[in-house]
């Protein structure tokens, strides 16, 4: 499958947006992990932002950044959301409520607990009637999302937004499923080259021969290994370097999603 990257969004520890993070990911400046600040998205008015679940704020932040750079209209673009854990805070709070004798579940919390809640809020905020797909592939959630998004773009010959996110669970779930930090990224993928294309991706699912591409920086490698959405980092690093390189992203059962990156415009 071949798709073109038109816009990128990024939010993670010490990674405050795609443009600000490019030199860090490219290894030009040293990476320093810092507490995450989720930027306010223009998609969310201040009063709604206060009530919004964290996964909603996070995905709107990276999604709107990627759409801005791609120059695309979110209202007419299908989306693929992928996450291992979804909104862990919401699920934890419901589990605590259900462990009490009263079992009184907050109705808003209940509808926020569905895995596609961020996709639902995105559609409302962007007034998009286009399809949303919400995926989970455990540690391979990013690779699975990239396959689905690329399959949509090529099979249906239309651009698609891939939004990957994961954040730590509160205890006690954190102890059984530790997720490092909070991380989200968005890629606008189109089936054909446009003026906004940054790189061409040739994507294949491979069973043999590949070893996962790691991050040379120890702190970024810890993030990559510890957060399913951050498994995207090797791909983002190649895009940041504006380099022609191939990366292997771990899928399941020893398989890899292998992505050959070819820059399409001059580095800026």
């Amino acid at each position: 499958m071949q798709v073109y990257v038109e816009g990128i969004g990024l939010c993670g520890p010490g990674l405050a947006g795609w443009e600000a993070s490019r030199t860090l990911l490219a290894g030009v400046r040293p990476y320093v992990s810092m507490p995450v600040v989720v930027p306010a998205s223009a998609l969310l008015p201040a009063n709604e932002r206060r009530r919004m679940i964290m996964t909603g704020k996070l995905t709107m932040a990276v999604g709107s950044e990627a759409f801005f750079h791609a120059g695309r209209d979110a209202a007419v673009t299908p989306t693929v959301f992928t996450s291992s854990g979804g909104d862990g805070d919401t699920v934890h709070q419901i589990l605590e409520e259900l462990a009490t004798p009263e079992r009184e579940v907050s109705p808003t919390r209940f509808h926020n607990s569905v895995h596609n809640a961020p996709a639902g809020y995105w559609s409302i905020a962007t007034r998009s009637h286009e399809p949303t797909t919400a995926l989970c592939g455990h540690d391979a959630s990013f690779a699975a999302g990239l396959l689905e998004a690329a399959a949509q773009a090529t099979a249906e010959s239309r651009p698609v937004a891939l939004i990957a996110y994961d954040l730590p669970y509160p205890e006690p779930l954190n102890a059984v499923r530790p997720i490092v930090s909070l991380f989200a990224t968005a890629l606008i993928l189109s089936p054909a080259a446009t003026d906004h294309s940054l790189a061409r991706l040739t994507i294949a699912l491979r069973r043999d021969g590949a070893t996962p591409t790691l991050m040379p920086d120890a702190a970024l490698e810890e993030l990559r290994g510890g957060n399913p959405a951050a498994r995207s980092l090797p791909l983002l690093a190649v895009l940041a370097r504006h380099a022609a390189e191939t990366v292997a992203l771990e899928h399941l059962g020893g398989k890899h999603v292998v992505v050959a990156v070819a820059p399409t415009t001059a580095a800026t």
Partner: protein, 394 residues
Amino acid sequence: MQPLVLSDFSIVSSLGAGREATLAALQAGRSGLVPCGFETVKLPTYVGEIAGLDEPVAGVACRNSRLARRALEQDGFAERVAQARAKYGPHRIGVFAGTSTSGILESELAYRRRNSPSGKLPPDFDYAKSHNTFSVAGFVAEHLGLDGPAVALSSACATTAKVFGAAARMIAAGLCDAAVVGGADTLCLTTLYGFHALNLLSTVPCRPFDRERDGISIGEAAGFALLEKPDARQAQDVNAVMLLGVGESNDAHHMSTPHPEGVGARLAMERALAAAGLAAEDIDYINLHGTATQAGDASEDIAVVGLFGVETPVSSTKGLTGHTLGAAGIVETIISSLSLLHGFWPGSANTKNLDTALRSRYVVETQNGRTDRVMSNSFGFGGSNCSLILGRAS
């Protein structure tokens, strides 16, 4: 889209295990809903519960995967997949499994058994194989020995309709030659108390399209289909069930309330028709989402009447199975496949007094009728909508 064949399918719900039991219940109009006695739940509601799912099965970590396993073992489905595995190779068969709540029941039980004072979960709690949304897809791939692309889709109550779209795209993109699609959703406290909190649980067996309808009854179910490109024989076989079209959309309206004019529902149905290259009059029967909430049935009725008029027979089978949430898409795709193969329109159990404000041609009693092409609707929280069109090979 290029039509694909459902070479085989399997189902377990409160109507029974397997195709024969499901068909018999549909034709007799026998509901699987009973007063809720699930776990320690004390709610005045009816459920479609499946017996024997609490018994441990070695190597299977949660009730949801035990339910998936039971479905895979019906009617020789696993053997049929094994034949496909031999034909294509395990790496060329994908798994696209949907669930809404996966094995969250195990987490609910584990939270009651948290260590005091540390608050830790009990050591036997297996997060990855129960709580994590991927657990059902991982289980299916492992149980069937499949090594193609595997992923879980979780778009609430539309999800096991959307698996057909995901599989069709992957096959079209050349990532696999065939796919096992479907999924499982078991009863759990999150959905029972959650829908109760939203005032959407009926205190009687749910009554789709009835003027007295007052909410859903929750059921549990699992179902799977083997989806592939038809071979020369299947392309000619009048008894082969084909997937002709998939239409997906979003309401962009509210997280848990459908668009009042059914805008997203209508778009999904229109897109399914466009994908199949069919017109509204080509559809012989529509299996509605029809959950028996006031708002849901009314908005779907507006969408259906707006697109199809008032002559196309429609019904909801949720009075029989209950609303099986994340499994509703595959359950009703299989019910639609059975009506297609056996030439009948399933009736609507528990619907006594049709709401005259709803204008669709609603089928209350099961009757024989033309079913060469049928549509199945699935809509969910987050505004997610998916319509599928099935037909006989021509």
